[in-house]
Point group: C2
Chain length 168, copies 2
């Protein structure tokens, strides 16, 4: 079993009300995370929540969420892609992509064009206003990225991208 690693910070920390049978630790200061501190998944989850919230807030004025941004970016860089290709590349299920494209198409950012060579599939394109809008989205996304840099540091952000490059 190895030795137990029960408490992460051994700071005495002035307890609020260390009652015996009562609920302790009103604030989150003296609460130890125990084994959680050694788990990459926990840190990654918390960071991902923070980063998405900042993205959503920064792109709030244009009402674009991270997934929508990723879809638009890939279509913009690879016009004519099929829905399957986009879904595969982004790790989105094709069933989910249907709804995403429905929304983007209603907003006149994306067009589904019936393919001539394969009548099952749709060739995805940005509309002219979609191209203009995407340019603005990219500027806002770059601003969001600067928030990330300010939060964890320039070098750390680049190291992070390098470490996780295999998952993109």
């Amino acid at each position: 079993m190895t030795a137990s690693v029960a408490r992460a910070d051994a700071r005495p920390s002035p307890r609020k009300r260390a009652g015996n049978g009562a609920a302790r630790e009103i604030d989150a200061e003296g609460v130890g995370l125990d084994a959680l501190v050694g788990h990459a998944g926990y840190a990654v989850r918390r960071f991902q929540i923070w980063i998405f919230q900042d993205f959503i807030k920064t792109l709030g004025e244009v009402d674009i969420r991270p997934t929508q941004y990723s879809v638009l970016t890939v279509i913009g860089a690879n016009p004519g892609l099929s829905q399957m290709a986009v879904a595969k590349r982004l790790g989105i299920e094709r069933a989910r992509l249907v709804h995403l494209l429905d929304g983007l198409e209603q907003r006149r950012l994306v067009k589904r064009i019936k393919s001539k060579t394969d009548r099952r599939s749709h060739a995805l394109h940005l509309t002219p206003p979609g191209e203009t809008a995407l340019a603005k989205f990219k500027r806002l996304a770059a601003e969001h990225e600067r928030h990330v840099e300010a939060k964890i540091g320039k070098a750390n952000r680049e190291r992070l991208l390098q470490i996780l490059a295999g998952f993109t």
Copy 2:
């Protein structure tokens, strides 16, 4: 607009059917991610999905998900915590924690004990079988962590934990 950075890899790559008005890029090889490669959020999201899937699979035999594990770990390390304290510490909404605890209590892993000093709050404790079970969960979680290490490398995993330590 700066110069467009449309394709990430400039490899010729034998196209499947580079039709003009047709859907291209059946497989996900030649599809460029464009601006997404520079976004930490995208890489983090993909990594987080992978890491959670591995966690769920590795802890599949005991049917414990990441959030449940984090709740059990914190309660185990800080017996008597209130629901508010756990929710705050883990960044979970207290409304969500209610359902999580309902499930854990039905499985006899956790007990809600009415606090004497504050009759609103509950003091959270692991049951004896809960303690035993958590020990097993921790062993499985450590195994999952070794999967992470095998995936991104030992040094990279530690660097990652260090970079994201501020979010725990």
